[in-house]
Symmetry: D2
Subunit: 378 residues, 4 copies
């Protein structure tokens, strides 16, 4: 299909929230966080399990510039709705530590993504699996079977390695890339989106970034900063087959350089869920809405190196701006995924439309430009 | 202070969400749910601990028309942020049962409300406390110390009894009544609010009701159905002292006649939290945002009457409409609290303004009436 | 009744576990932890609600030598079975902070104990309740209605104050004192028990102490270090009325000077539950088995004093000895409660027997002395 | 190595607990529960990653005689310590449903076991992965790298299929079979163990079965029904290399035909953890101790077949015997694993000894036979 020009939400003149964005408006604005994609896209026509069409891939988030196995981070999570899988989540929840990359892919490729991550780490750390250094990689998934021959197991170990090897800082490709290639969100083409916030110095000056793989929601519920964009577009906008309501998921990764304990990261991840809700999800029964988070501020070295370690930890009273940042950043990352994604065909000739950016701007402007703020607004 | 005419949100022409409301648009639309208030309001001027001014009270929710001790309900909960207290919550979480009324009051009156509820139940069930029938009443709280002499312990056992005795079905008084008398929400006068939804028959025809005691939020974050009403009003609208950001809480009670298991009620309570988020709370560090829920569809009799009981339980695939209803109902209950509450003075001459209904309508109309839906809206 | 000589478990020549005990073998071995009791005991004969007999009281644990409001500790918890109440638990779980004393009393006195703790703290910190410094005291309960006129509300605010004022370091009175006065455990007289462990220097040298209020279990399940003492005593040993199986609870308070994060304290509290299990509880449906824990190593000052604080935190790989210490200490604290408690009569002439120390020693010796360790035992 | 005669615990004259065992004293006593193993064992000598030695395998638990995809069961879980992985756990926790087999294997084979289970289910249900019927199989793991070339990825999809195809009712092979082939527990050879209980009719007559894959514990902590067998054997008994303390795990699967809701199964799983504790685990930091449970009494059909379903649910007051059964059954299943496992060599010539059954009987008899019960024992 022809791919129309896509732009990020802010490039359309639309911003969400009160805080400034970072240089890339991406999770990579948190120092040391790298992102890589490997996209698999081939074939058209009827689904033939094992043959295609293929609309899937792998996205890798590498914390600590790839040194995460030896120099671990404090981590946390929240499960808004658990109809999904992030392998390794139980250990992350128990230990509050991140010691592997985070991979995002389709539901039936979690196993191979896990194997690929292990293989890639074994190359770097050959003692893994030899002397009690087994690891359980974090692999999150959404179900892309509406467009992708998910039963065909098209993701291979080498694709996982490729995503990991491709991880870079700087601008992050969004939309139909990596794990997001075949995802559908709010009945529109979804996928990968990201955003970041930098708190003012007087609130700590911290950077917080969000990356989502969004496969969630129905068009009638879509909101952009509260504005009911989906309602305005109208259900009739979707002139192709819609997925059943029940399905869809979203995996969110939150990174920050604010110095946080596990319990604080868990709490921020919970606020991230509020951001998912503001974007229009009601966390449907069949939707896996899982948030992982980590802080890059304290390193927890592997091995029995020191009985007591000194950590810098943010005072709880100072955490509220991070809550707000996490919410607005999540809303914007979801919107960015929709803004970047292009119309995509898939199995059985299904087509998923893209969010129409001109219509989005029109709707936004009618609400905001044509409706001037009241006289005494701050 | 003079009390201007207050109206409910829908009476202003503003509705939230897609489902119909019940006859009273109140939690009492769920059959057998009764609500009573006892309001304490006296004195003005400087805070003199023990003397006043007094702006507080007790709200009682009586499930099962007061027979809840013998004919118990299945119940659940969710803690969005736990900087608050609902006594009895641990047992509710463990057993998934509701066997006492639910009381709402100020933070330092939880103990006396608990004693009052026990005393009231002892009158009805004299075996309590004699033969292993101790109970742990559910008492939720918010901190009304901005307006109320909270340290003065003005709530007495007889006031708790009075609220319980006052419990009725039908229309529910909102705003500055009962436990909500001294509450502040979004820097405006808050308090008690309620709303209900009735699902269409083809979705089960269930009724779901919400009652909130809202003491949460900052004006700049207030939203009504996504519309940034607080931003439009502007921070300058608040021309009196504002509470520090850190404080504020909200207790939510959800009731439904849909036949649900504990795990399902827990899940609905979690969606209710998304409704709190949509109304503008980011669940600040210092805010107690706790949701209780119960289903009236199955009765669990007290005592060892039957080893195995037959329950009607909703299929999980049919739960999504209840999620949506809980979210929109929570948003509307919060708005109803603000719409009903009147400007209130309190300790040290502080005054908390009410949400200006004319301004609310103006803002709403500019967004909705002046901005006609796009041609192809559904 | 005549009170026979009672001795602590170790004074009988019985020790549990591998680690050394502290100087007092009590929770007070953790520096700054004080314990006080106020015991209410009067009347005999038939229960007359409001008149007696009275067999109840209050036990107070004062962390940080009473400065806990301003210099707070990191805290955690675990609920083994939640058929009970610790008021303030939700906030402790959310914030991971301890900022009030911990009170233990009977189920229907939680409210008054909470009020008493607030009153006592108001005296010391008059700004509480004036300017957004409301507190939610931690008050744990067990049901002593088998012996005590629990419905009579005999615990008054002054008794709570008295327990708090009585708090001291050093040896801790055990058995039928304070909140433990009317408690029954394993069909024997229970109540308050405590124990401590000091890790060897090479494991960190930390002190960990446990205090229990035990009201849990049936005699046939009682174990001392695995030895089935209750089975040996035999059900026939109980020649008086037994409580229904369903009831009984245990509240455990764990203190340590090991430097721990909230998530680590939560994990230690979970191991404490294993200690309850080893002593013979199966955490019955009707039993409230709740564990609170705190670390005295890091102080979290009240107020907005510092955005980022430096904490010493134990490495996770070094936590295992604390797990073991918590388990063995819990087992011994429960045994100490039984060893210290004296035969007690109560309402309606009921009598609860004490654990027969001579029989305990006999049973122990048959297992251990008469059964010499095998030749190659370490 | 030569394999000495091994017997089950009860065949040695040792029983744990009060309830009767089922016909097979195995999880298969719960009607419809099938178990299959596929064992991989080849090579000796030095570890050469990819070549061996291989000491590993797969164990499959098939609920509902293989019809679990269409006729699902109510399920629950508990995480005692989460340093491990059960893929699919998040969804089980959210939905409280079991809809796939449960597989047990080594840590680095979770992915392939998941793929194998999906492949096997796709054969039976070709719509999986085609139309929104993705599944997330439950795959639990322990780390067998002490004996097994875990990094060599020796478990293949066909081995997973073989374990599933081998699933049968009746007696269950224990010890060094299937996923248990390379496991070490209490410094002795561990692996698969199982046990069951049948409640007396007056307690409901339900059957409850446990199957463990045990890789947990240190010899000095091993207990059999409270008797400190490991202490008696003495650390010197282990004359070979010991694993570091930190490692080891146990996965427990609980099945019952008692009619239970998810929240009740969660609670029983928590008691199962007490059984793990009684057997001698303190749930070390590095140990994955995860319990899954399901009830076969109610079937939840796949698909949108009925909005409201009728369930038989056990009254909570009747649940205590199931708690006790779960604890004693878990203890016995762990002991059975040790009793069945044979001495095993593995990578780098390491040898893990078996529990010496003659010594076990000697120790047991000294405690129990030579120490006659006291006169008045019941």
């Amino acid at each position: 299909m022809s791919e129309p020009l896509r732009r990020r939400l802010r490039d359309l003149g639309i911003g969400i929230g009160r805080f400034d964005v970072g240089p890339n408006n991406a999770i990579t604005d948190v120092a040391g966080v790298l992102v890589g994609h490997h996209t698999l896209r081939r074939g058209t026509g009827r689904r033939k399990v094992g043959s295609g069409p293929v609309r899937t891939g792998v996205t890798a988030i590498l914390p600590n510039a790839g040194k995460i196995f030896t120099d671990r981070y404090i981590a946390g999570h929240f499960v808004l709705n658990g109809a999904g899988e992030v392998s390794g989540l139980t250990q992350l929840a128990e230990w509050g530590l991140l010691e592997t990359p985070i991979l995002l892919t389709n539901t039936l490729s979690v196993g191979v993504a896990s194997q690929g991550a292990i293989a890639w780490m074994l190359d770097k750390h050959p003692t893994i699996g030899v002397e009690h250094d087994v690891i359980i990689p974090l692999v999150g998934e959404c179900d892309d079977s509406f467009l992708n021959d998910i039963g065909g197991s098209h993701v291979k170990v080498e694709h996982v390695r490729a995503a990991l090897d491709a991880a870079r800082g700087g601008a992050v490709a969004e939309g139909c890339v990596g794990g997001g290639t075949g995802m559908v969100s709010f009945d529109l083409k979804g996928g990968i989106g990201t955003s970041s916030r930098v708190l003012p110095e007087e609130l700590g000056g911290y950077t917080l970034g969000i990356l989502v793989m969004t496969n969630v929601g129905r068009i009638e519920d879509l909101r952009v900063d509260g504005i009911p964009v989906g309602r305005e577009l109208g259900p009739a906008f979707i002139h192709a087959a819609k997925r059943p309501n029940l399905y869809g998921s979203i995996i969110v990764v939150m990174a920050t350089d604010a110095p946080l304990a596990t319990s604080q990261i868990n709490r921020i991840c919970k606020r991230t869920a509020l951001g998912i809700g503001r974007a229009g999800s009601y966390a449907a029964h069949g939707s896996g809405e899982i948030i992982l988070g980590f802080s890059t501020a304290n390193v927890v070295p592997r091995g029995r190196v020191q009985r007591v370690r000194r950590f810098d930890i943010l005072a709880d009273w100072a955490i509220d701006p991070l809550y707000q940042a996490a919410i607005e950043c999540t809303e914007e990352a979801i919107a960015n995924a929709l803004c970047a994604a292009v119309p995509t065909d898939g199995v059985d000739g299904r087509v998923v439309q893209a969010l129409p950016l001109d219509r989005l701007v029109d709707i936004w402007n009618r609400y905001w430009r044509d409706c001037p703020p009241s006289p005494d607004a701050g």
